[in-house]
């Protein structure tokens, strides 16, 4: 919790307040048909796939890696499950849904293992290694769905996204459970420390006997698994698999969430709480674009401006500049604003997060 407070919570707070100013009932939450409704609930519900994907991405980035293929895995997970359900003898049965989900998760493990093989075993640079699956994966998804949008009508499957437990949407519960699990596992075992050690100094870790390869392998498998869970949520939400558009550019949003959360792309120390905050910030931003009524043609520009502001405000040089400006008549004005750390990621995400609306 203390960790969370040190993270940049103000962009999220500012966005929420902006919404409150425009829509006074923004914070209102009510129960209807045994499920919570309201804008805040929507943010959590719609943000769950991104939050889960970004969590896997956090661990990958902590080992000095990056995983560009998560968007493709999202699309594959939906495609496999929907195609399986649609072609089973009884497309409405819970059994078909469960088997399809199991198949998708199993395939995700295999895809993650493929990424891990390229990175950990063959030593290919992560950005290139995962680019392979980023490109090929979406093609694979289209092969599976035969280029069609596969729709299903299966209550068990839609339940992943549509149902609620004790009024809380299942998506939110699943995301919370995954975060809690990862926080617990990384803290209660030595995994967190060893992941960081590998990210900070791979050679020193190897010489200290750390199984770097296994650890790197594990995080890629975990990232793919997270992406598959996100893919199931997205696909279940629309009762369909859209191989072309599901999870499109999600990898960039996930990377952005990790960076906003304060984890360095150079690897090493990471923050799970920061990533959660980053994911919620991005989702709130997406929601704001609709709720404030920003015209679709400038929505990307609006998003980019907010992202740039967040990074500028976090840049040490800009902070120093602001701090100096507050003091009376400093000696010499420092050189003009510095390049923004995280700059490359600001020409961001393009598209609302998949079909999750």
């Amino acid at each position: 919790m203390r960790e969370l407070l040190r993270k940049p919570i103000w962009p999220l707070a500012a966005l929420l307040l902006l919404n409150l100013a425009v829509t006074p009932s923004f914070f209102a939450v009510h129960v209807q048909d045994g499920r919570l409704y309201g804008s805040l609930v929507d943010i959590l519900h719609n943000g769950a796939p991104l939050a889960i994907t970004a969590l896997g991405m956090t661990l990958v980035i902590a080992t000095r890696g990056i995983d560009l293929s998560v968007g493709a895995v999202v699309s594959i997970a939906g495609a496999v499950t929907c195609t399986w359900i649609a072609s089973s003898p009884d497309p409405a049965s819970p059994g078909a849904a469960i088997a399809g989900i199991g198949l998708a998760l199993g395939l995700a493990v295999a895809l993650g293992a493929w990424n891990g093989f390229l990175v950990a075993r063959l030593g290919i640079q992560p950005i290139i290694a995962t680019l392979v699956l980023m490109t090929a994966g979406r093609g694979l998804a289209q092969l599976i769905t035969d280029g069609q949008i596969v729709t299903v009508n299966n209550a068990t499957y839609s339940g992943i996204s549509g149902s609620a437990l004790l009024t809380v949407p299942v998506t939110v519960l699943v995301a919370a459970a995954v975060y809690a699990l990862v926080a617990l596992v990384t803290r209660r075992t030595a995994l967190g420390t060893l992941v960081e050690a590998v990210g900070i100094n791979p050679e020193a870790s190897r010489l200290a006997g750390v199984r770097s390869r296994t650890i790197v392998w594990t995080v890629y498998v975990f990232a793919a698994l997270c992406a598959a869970v996100a893919g199931l949520m997205i696909s279940a939400n629309v009762h369909a698999a859209d191989a072309n558009n599901a999870g499109l550019w999600l990898e960039l949003d996930a990377i952005l969430a990790v960076v906003i959360g304060g984890t360095s792309l150079a690897g090493g120390r990471y923050s799970i709480a920061g990533t959660l905050l980053g994911a919620l910030t991005i989702q709130t931003l997406t929601t704001t674009i609709y709720s404030v009524g920003i015209p679709p043609e400038v929505s990307l520009v609006f998003k980019a401006v907010v992202v740039i502001l967040v990074f500028l405000a976090q840049a040490p040089k800009v902070r120093a500049l602001l701090a100096r400006g507050r003091r009376p008549a400093g000696p010499q004005p420092p050189p003009p604003a510095a390049p923004v750390p995280g700059g490359p990621v600001t020409d961001v995400p393009v598209e609302k997060t998949g079909s999750s609306r």
Binding site: A190, L194, A197, S205, R211
Partner: protein, 507 residues
């Protein structure tokens, strides 16, 4: 040569990093045409003082004057503009660019808005000529050995007509003849009237090159001396500020000669790797310290890495405690009871962004696997005990390792291995680049470990250290073992003779 006014005068310099007082009221005077050595243990404040001088750190109190004028540098560029140039320990140049480009990077002569390459080459030739360096300005920098690159760094520093040249550990990766070459250049600059501040851990080199020295200890100045007027023993006690018992204790006779009949901890037969080291036989018994002596590139480090599996041997066999083990990677070596401290502390040991505690338990944790985390209380206990045992400073298990001085980092790395209670401890240059006090502590630790029955393989570029600590010494030369000395035969002259001649004239 001296007698004139100081070119640079720093008075009452204080620098604090948060609650840590790094420097307190330190004075330093640099005279034109003099080499001034800055001496002190790691953590004494040498680096901080240099950074205060060159404008990297702002000073909290005190004054810096250059030729009598008070100055306040806003950064290294401002210091350089005032004629103060610095050459750091690691060569901070671009290996893929040419010598000329490196010399003039950022200040290339221009004509009509474009770089005047002909002028640049002419200027480079001129600067190299001034230092009597015979290098082709258009050759790529990485075509030259590290020593030459160091000289290019110096040439770059004096290209701007520096009046003050700061050399931070310039000799740490050079061999004897390269050091001579460097000193020739330094003397040339000195005779031109440049004031030179020289930082080194090699006491002999300091005596050879410097005219005057300032000794720091714990952030304060102990005193300023003329080199000719202070003995080595006086200097060392000024630096460590305590009687030299630690150093003397090491001069005791080496551990009892190992029992020949006792089964060896390590028996390596014909272990080697193409291009690294030719087949070597090596036996180390419990409680024995075996030194590997040889120059840089003789195969000493290569052999150590093969024994640990850091590189894979392509022939030979290793047995630990009589059992043949296949050492495929560091993990298999660790499982067999071997520990290895790499010569390259920064790349191969230090995990800088983790805490001292995490670093100390890293190897133990790694061998337990990530599932079985060492309980927090146990970690704290281990960290605290070893911090105290090895006198690691600051004594804070939560400090990030990168904030510790080199000597203290080394102690943390040793602690990392000692808590795993290895059967065989391989130490490659454990005392490189660290101060006298920490060095003595580490040497004592090696002797102590051997006393407790650990087998030790000890490597150091400093021969006297190898000779003093080792029961036996394996001499390597040109990637080949040339001789093994034991007992009475282990002495400096003999080892040096073997390294120099390979044994044809020796023994």
């Amino acid at each position: 040569m001296a007698g004139s006014r100081p070119l640079v005068e720093m008075t009452g310099i204080s620098v604090a990093f948060g609650p840590v007082q790094a420097l307190e009221g330190v004075d330093l005077r640099l005279y034109p045409g003099e080499v001034h050595a800055l001496m002190g243990e790691n953590g004494a404040g040498k680096s901080t003082l240099i950074k205060a001088l060159t404008g990297v750190h702002p000073v909290d109190a005190g004054q810096i004057t250059v030729q009598g004028e008070p100055v306040a540098f806003s950064g290294p560029a401002a210091a350089q503009a005032a004629g103060i140039s610095t050459v750091y320990q690691e060569v901070n140049l671009c290996p893929n660019l040419s010598v000329a480009e490196n010399l003039l990077l950022g200040r290339e002569p221009r004509r009509a808005g474009r770089i005047d390459w002909r002028g640049a080459r002419r200027r480079a030739t001129e600067v190299l000529g001034r230092l009597h360096l015979d290098l082709d300005p258009s050759s790529p920098l990485d075509a030259h050995p590290i020593a030459q690159q160091q000289l290019v760094a110096i040439a770059r520093a004096v290209e701007v007509d520096s009046r003050v040249l700061v050399l931070d550990e310039p000799t740490s990766s050079l061999d004897a003849s390269e050091v001579e070459e460097l000193f020739r250049v330094v003397r040339g600059l000195r005779d031109d009237g440049v004031a030179i501040l020289f930082v080194s851990h090699f006491i002999e080199q300091v005596y050879e090159i410097s005219d005057r020295m300032t000794v720091l200890r714990n952030g304060s100045r102990v005193g300023e001396y003329r080199t000719a007027e202070i003995s080595r023993v006086q200097l060392v006690s000024a630096m460590v500020g305590r009687e030299l018992e630690v150093l003397e204790r090491l001069d005791r006779a080496p551990a009892a000669p190992a029992d020949e009949t006792e089964s060896p901890v390590l028996r390596a037969v014909g272990i080697g790797r193409k291009g690294a080291v030719e087949p070597v036989d090596l036996v180390v018994r419990p409680g024995e310290v075996v030194g590997l002596a040889g120059l840089l590139g003789s195969g000493r480090t290569e052999l150590a890495r093969l024994l640990f599996g850091a590189d894979r041997a392509d022939h030979g066999e290793i047995a630990v405690d009589g059992r043949v083990v296949r050492i495929r990677n560091p993990r298999t070596a660790i499982d067999a009871g071997i520990a290895f401290s790499s010569e390259d502390r920064k790349a191969g040991g230090v995990v800088g962004d983790l805490t001292v505690r995490d670093n100390i338990v890293l190897a133990m944790q790694a061998s337990r696997g990530w599932m079985r985390r060492i309980p927090g209380r146990k970690q704290d206990e281990l960290a605290r005990r070893w911090i105290e045992l090895l006198d690691i400073r600051p004594a804070d298990p939560d400090a990030l390792l990168r904030n510790l001085s080199g000597g203290n980092q080394q102690k943390v790395l040793l602690a990392r291995w000692l808590i795993t209670q290895p059967r065989l401890l391989i130490l490659d240059e454990p005392t490189r680049g660290i101060d006298v006090g920490a060095k003595a502590q580490i040497q004592a630790l090696v002797a102590e470990q051997a006393g407790q029955g650990t087998a030790v393989v000890f490597i150091s570029a400093e021969l006297d250290e190898v000779v003093r600590l080792s029961d036996r010494v394996l001499v390597l030369r040109d990637r080949k073992p040339v001789a093994e000395l034991a007992g009475e035969d282990v002495d400096m002259d003999r080892v040096m003779g073997l390294i120099a001649t390979g044994g044809e004239a020796g023994a």
